[in-house]
Amino acid sequence: MYAALWHVLPGPVWVRILILLVLLAAVLYVLVTWVFPWVDGMMQANEEGTVAV
């Protein structure tokens, strides 16, 4: 999967690395902005407070 991605990318090695870093940053941004808060919200629904946390 990642090998295929590497071969699909154009240009010399440093350009590919640059593109990969940009892709990685984009993935992280999406995770932190939307995915993680959403998962966090899902987990809160299962929590129960006694003498609270």
Partner: protein, 275 residues
């Protein structure tokens, strides 16, 4: 050239095609392509590794990143709330009718009514937690709207005493995660001030002792902690949080005793009130 060759081999016998192919292998990139195979197991493995990394990222985000963000948001929310109460608190200042001149008896502090769910009732300052540490205390210990909220962090157990009231003013907060409100609770020392600001003014409590309990030990919230059916005579504060840090097997209850009430900010926190 390569394309012609490729088409040609297709019509040739297998043995020829093989030798032809290996010859072309040495020549250039294009002929290497057919050798690459996408393995189902390989892709599945890569997906699993990716999922593992994402889970680790989530845990790191939850513990450090999100908590740091929430901590700063909760602090500025508390500063804003404090400022608002200071400005209209002065209008409400009325001389205490129970205070007699020359009396040595300390007059009872004012007590507010318990607000609705998730509404703010106090701003709490504990200098031991840091010179700029402050949080809004909201009604109830609801996880989503209070404890994990960007504009609270500390929750008041509904039904327990209000600040200044005889009985037990009981609050809860996370120790780690969601703003780390009570992460330093175990650093409190006997006599450490705990300042509670309400629209009325400032209540000073002083830290008395700890108790480490099971999560089911709700008796720490009683008007006289741990004592059932006893009429309270003292004004207490109880702060509960998880113990040990980063885990939740136990709860720690930190008790404090009411010391004094004043309309204006106490000197120790005067610099950071409303800022």
């Amino acid at each position: 050239m390569v394309r012609h060759g490729t088409i040609a081999t297709m019509t040739e016998p297998t043995a020829n095609a093989a030798s032809d192919g290996s010859r072309r292998d040495r020549r250039g990139r294009r002929s290497r392509r057919p050798r690459r195979r996408v393995s189902v197991v390989g892709v599945f493995g890569e997906l699993l590794v990716t999922a593992g990394v994402v889970v680790l990222l989530f845990l790191g985000w939850q513990t450090w990143w999100n908590s740091a963000v929430l901590s700063s948001q909760q602090t500025s929310a508390a500063a804003q709330q404090s400022k608002d109460w200071l400005s209209f608190g002065h209008e409400k200042v009325t001389p205490d009718p129970t205070a007699t001149p020359g009396s040595t008896e300390v007059p009872a502090p004012p007590v507010e009514k318990e607000p609705k769910q998730a509404e703010p009732l106090a701003v709490i300052y504990i200098p031991r937690f840091g010179s700029d540490w402050k949080r809004i205390v909201r009604e109830s210990v609801d996880v989503e709207s209070v404890l994990n909220s960007f504009d609270a962090g500390v929750g008041h157990y509904t039904g327990t005493a209000m600040p200044g009231q005889v009985g037990n003013f009981a609050v809860a907060a996370h120790d780690t995660g969601y703003g780390n409100a009570f992460i330093d609770v175990s650093k409190l020392r006997i006599g450490d001030p705990i300042y509670i600001q309400t629209p009325q003014g400032f209540y000073t409590y002083r830290f008395r002792n700890y108790e480490y309990v099971q999560p089911s030990a709700v008796t720490v919230l009683l008007p006289v902690p741990r004592e059932k059916d006893v009429k309270p005579t003292q004004r207490l504060i109880t702060m509960t949080t998880c113990n040990p840090p980063y885990h939740a097997q136990e709860r720690i209850a930190a008790y404090g005793v009411f010391d004094s009430f004043q309309k204006t900010p106490p000197t120790a926190i005067a610099k950071q009130v409303g800022k």
